[in-house]
């Protein structure tokens, strides 16, 4: 190690910036306390009234297993809504993703316009879509499926166009240099590179759907959520407990399968 002959320089003085970390911590703590007062957090009140909630909580730990038969058709509807919404959103989302990526859309104004529209679509929460669509289409799985489709479309386009931004464009450059049009070059050289990532995002969207489709049912958009709303209204907490258990099992199983598939796709 005698070959290394460092230039004679003085060692730098250790910078003193710990105060920045403390200042940040103080600001965050201040904001937290301030927002707590603003929304009226009442901790002593929570403790005084704990007894009221306790009975409900105990009921929630005791599922009514006899209720399973009644829930199955709702459970199936939840899964069906998730599958259809994922399928439609994926088919529509793939070409839109290509328009929303700077790597695959040569027209910058067009690309920015597509992104702007998709940002609006994504900014609206799924529950709001469901509430509006229920009032337009009516209570049931159709409005729920439409709400999920819009919600999924926004996610698929966001994730896939980001993957496209990072894709190796060598093949596309070669195709363009050989006289291909942009759509041809994107289809022939970029699509194969992005397919595993696309499939992975579709599965991820499907996972999100299972959870989302139980929530949007609360505003009448079909699926298990509709049933949850019914038993909750009548304080049937043992039955509610069973439904929550079912959702837990469903989500765990689907997420396990889906993440295993995704690892295989992208690995």
């Amino acid at each position: 190690m005698t070959t290394v002959a460092p230039a004679p320089t003085t060692r730098p003085v250790r910078p003193r910036n710990a105060w920045k970390a403390w200042l940040t911590l103080a600001i965050v703590a201040g904001i937290t306390v301030w927002t707590g007062f603003a929304i009226g957090v009442d901790i002593p009140g929570l403790i005084r009234n704990a007894g009221n909630g306790l009975a409900n909580l105990i009921a929630l730990t005791q599922p009514e297993y006899g209720f399973v038969g009644e829930t199955l058709s709702w459970l199936a509807e939840t899964v069906q809504m998730a599958v259809i919404a994922t399928a439609i959103a994926s088919v529509l989302g793939l070409p839109i993703s290509f328009l929303a990526s700077r790597a695959t859309n040569p027209s910058r104004p067009f690309m920015l316009a597509v992104r702007a529209v998709m940002n609006v679509v994504r900014a609206i929460p799924d529950l709001l879509y469901a509430a509006v669509l229920v009032s337009v289409v009516g209570v049931g799985a159709l409005s729920g499926t439409m709400a999920l489709t819009l919600f999924n479309l926004a996610i698929v386009v966001k994730l896939v166009s980001e993957a496209l931004d990072a894709v190796d464009v060598g093949g596309q450059e070669a195709a363009l240099a050989g006289g291909a049009t942009w759509p041809q070059a994107d289809r022939a050289a970029v699509l194969p590179e992005i397919l595993p990532a696309f499939a992975s995002q579709v599965l991820y969207t499907f996972e999100l759907n299972i959870r989302a489709s139980t929530v949007i049912g609360l505003v009448g958009a079909g699926g298990l959520g509709l049933l949850i709303d019914r038993v909750r209204t009548f304080y049937h907490y043992h039955e509610l407990s069973l439904i929550i258990l079912e959702i837990l099992v469903l989500v765990l199983v689907l997420e396990t399968v889906s993440s295993w598939l995704r690892r295989r796709l992208t690995g």
Partner: protein, 269 residues
């Protein structure tokens, strides 16, 4: 249109006082005047940054020129867009340093990309290639002796194999000109010779005009009858490779030769 035989006619390339200035102000080419006759194999040498890549990429319009005029087979390149630019590019095959293959699809699909200019959009979107085009792609793969890998994933091939697939893709265009931008810079010496021999064979057997960028001088002298030396965006040597002696290379490189400028074992002490 079924046989992948010789392209219709070879085509000449003319540079007339061409200048390229990049948006950041950097000079790519300066007053380049060059005449590459049809059917010639020309090798462009120079240090990195000398403008070799700019020169090659301006021929098919990948780099737009700022002044002067380039014509390929009498057709001007500058100012073309849309259908006319694609027509021009379909006559010019290109081979890249990093192969530029779609790694996750098959070798055959990669070679078929050379047929996109002659394929209807709807066909390319659903992947319904014409049988003639598939035949043409297979013949191009046979010419670079790699047809056995037609259904392998491009990314699974070795570097040398990938570059030959890229040459097949260029051939599938039935081009009149092939441009190769540092085609052996990512390859080891034996593989470099295989790729250079492929390019020479294409030039000799099909009469296609070939322009190759190289960094290595020994390769340039071995394969280039016509040698173009570049330095700082200008052509500083243009002539027979056999006549390019030490002083010529000092001129091009601005210094004496070192071991890094040759591919194989040093040609001289």
């Amino acid at each position: 249109m079924t046989q992948a035989g010789p392209a219709a006619t070879a085509t000449d390339i003319r540079f007339d006082r061409v200048g390229v200035r990049y948006p950041n102000g950097a000079v790519g080419l300066e007053e380049v005047t060059l005449d590459i006759p049809a059917g010639e194999m020309a090798i462009v040498v120079g240090l990195s940054g000398a403008g070799k890549s700019t020169l090659i990429r301006s021929i098919n319009g990948l780099v737009p020129i700022s002044s002067g005029q380039i014509t390929v087979g009498g057709r001007p390149v500058a100012g073309q867009s849309g259908r006319r630019l694609r027509d021009l590019r379909s006559d010019v095959g290109m081979v890249f340093q990093s192969f530029n293959l779609a790694r996750r699809t098959t070798v055959l699909n990669n070679v078929l990309m050379g047929r996109l200019h002659a394929t209807a959009t709807w066909r390319s979107l659903i992947g319904a290639w014409k049988a003639d085009d598939v035949e043409l792609a297979m013949q191009a793969l046979e010419r670079v002796e790699i047809v056995g890998k037609a259904y392998a994933k491009a990314g699974e091939l070795s570097g040398g194999q990938q570059q030959r697939v890229a040459i097949a893709r260029a051939l599938a265009q039935r081009p009149k000109v092939i441009l190769a931008d540092e085609p052996v810079a990512s390859l080891d010496p034996p593989t470099s010779h295989v790729v250079m021999r492929d390019l020479r064979r294409i030039n000799e057997e099909l009469g296609i005009t070939v322009v190759v960028n190289l960094h290595f001088l020994d390769l340039a002298r071995e394969y280039g009858r016509r040698l173009v030396g570049m330095r700082a965006g200008r052509v500083v040597f243009d002539g027979d490779g056999a006549h390019a002696d030490e002083s010529v290379f000092r001129d091009i490189y601005g210094r004496s030769l070192t071991a890094e400028d040759v591919l194989d074992a040093p040609v001289r002490p």
